[in-house]
Symmetry: C2
Subunit: 319 residues, 2 copies
């Protein structure tokens, strides 16, 4: 599309709480280059566990429900803004489709900031190497990454623009394992702030979307879960919001994803027992082949976004 007419761009932080730090040694350092030393006392009060969101409001939205874009593990909202090969991302595509869009960074990722290691429960984060990402994102066969691009092995027909994989890896951020409760609370606070919404979640963010559809049926009006992980084990209550599950390609080549997929499909089976709202879009069975774990980054990202927008248009989401 050629242009987008916006009424406002704003960002905000929501969720989390206060933490008091004490007992740290006070020290003296130069902070501003050439400005001399000063005393640094890190004891005091901090915000922790908050989430960052940027909200794009259209001058004339066609839909009353905004779309919330929730990133995957070890990522930030940047994954929705552009593709690794420099095209506009799903943020732009969904604005063009007439949705207000909110892009967020979950707690401890990107602009959400993170707590110091001395704070309770903070501990050390894990970092994702390019080697791991190449495998886990199903760019190519296990061990297919090589620092020398000429020696890399990608799946034939790979839709991910893997020539730009190293640039893509600049998006990776550390994450703290086992902090799902912190994240879920902050995403719930986001929903409370924004109001009833469509949640498009990727991977870990897709799992959070399914969790919060159960916890806050008043606020989650639809879920698009792109290769989600960490979905609920049970339906603790009837789930009314329509759920679309989206799968890319090359699951047979990944033992990890075969396992994760089983877990997710088990939950979709439970959802399906409740009614027609649980649907699956398996791209290869639609003859759309070669998609990685990041369909929003793949060469056919706009086409996939359009499939999602079309599905949403069929869900009667007039709020």
């Amino acid at each position: 599309m050629s242009s987008v007419h916006l009424q406002s761009i704003k960002s905000f932080h929501v969720g989390g709480g206060d933490r008091r730090v004490q007992g740290l040694p006070v020290f003296t350092r130069e902070v501003a280059a050439g400005g001399g030393t000063r005393v640094l006392d890190m004891n005091g009060t901090y915000s922790v566990g908050q989430l960052y969101a940027s909200a794009y409001r259209l001058a004339a939205a066609r839909w009353r429900c905004p779309v919330l874009l929730w990133h995957g593990g070890g990522m930030t909202g940047a994954q929705w803004e552009s593709t690794p090969d420099g095209r506009t991302g799903w943020l732009w595509r969904l604005l063009g489709a007439g949705f207000d869009v909110v892009v967020s960074d979950g707690p401890e990722r990107g602009r959400a900031s993170f707590a110091m290691a001395s704070q309770p429960g903070a501990g050390e984060p894990v970092f994702r190497s390019r080697e791991e990402a190449w495998d886990v994102f199903r760019i190519g066969p296990p061990g297919g990454y090589h620092p020398d691009a000429a020696q890399r092995r990608a799946f034939a027909g790979q839709q991910f623009p893997h020539e730009d994989f190293d640039g893509f890896s600049r998006q990776f951020v550390p994450r703290w394992l086992g902090h799902d409760a912190i994240a879920l609370d902050a995403y719930e606070a986001l929903l409370e702030r924004v109001g009833p919404a469509i949640v498009v979640g990727h991977s870990q963010g897709g799992g959070y979307a399914t969790q919060l559809a159960q916890r806050r049926p008043d606020l989650v009006r639809a879920v698009v879960a792109i290769e989600p992980t960490g979905v609920p084990a049970h339906c603790t209550q009837p789930v009314a919001a329509p759920h679309l599950l989206l799968w890319g390609d090359h699951f047979a080549e990944s033992a990890l994803w075969t396992r994760y997929r089983q877990q997710t499909e088990q939950y979709w089976g439970l959802l399906a027992q409740q009614g027609p709202g649980a649907q699956t879009l398996d791209l290869p069975t639609r003859q759309i082949r070669g998609n990685s774990h990041f369909c929003m980054a793949d060469r056919n990202s706009d086409a996939i976004a359009d499939l999602v927008a079309t599905w949403l248009a069929g869900q009667g989401l007039t709020l």
Copy 2:
């Protein structure tokens, strides 16, 4: 202004380099909730030192030079997007004034990500408490912050929306001291990517703008330095780009800022010896009183942005 017509929103990472990590122990953990454990091997190849930028391109820009917004120390690009009391920020105001705008997160801040502590030079970051920020940002007299809002002391007539100070503190991110060389290289890479630009830099980011105006006179067409720190000690070469220096209020109450201001004004004196391009906008002498260190967050933020836009309009920046 009522609305903004955009041609595109994109984001990207630039600068930095590759790092290889080895010798770390491999371990087994649950990553996706309920998905079982898997082996985590953090040894491998990483991107480090990169910068994140989001680029807003107008459908019909009135100026050929984009404005780059560079945040202060311990902050991210979020400081330009909204004010603490929920109004639109300078990003929106400058788009409305007809400039394309690029908002960035410097290396190791926000969406730029950061390197693991085991990597050379990474070390530990410093964190800014609300207590320190209240003093250093000149919201009130030293020691004026109290966790109980009713017991806080702000300067009379304070323009910063200090009722929202705790929410504002959610923006704070850790930073690594002494990493100016990493930051300058990444901001230079940003300039190379974007092309000739106006740089509006705040605090540490204002210092980086003055440094890069010397290093890359081909790419920095104008500098607006808002209470900058870390300016150069000397002019190593003639500086042609016009420079606007902007000061808020309440310097007399801060020994730290009195010192930082002296350092900056010494450099502005050197610039002024070279021609008429070095100018100063001291808000209190214009009868604009009560501004904090964050005029882009203050209640009169739009009025200050308009002063900056008006100054830029007078600099003949047709590129």
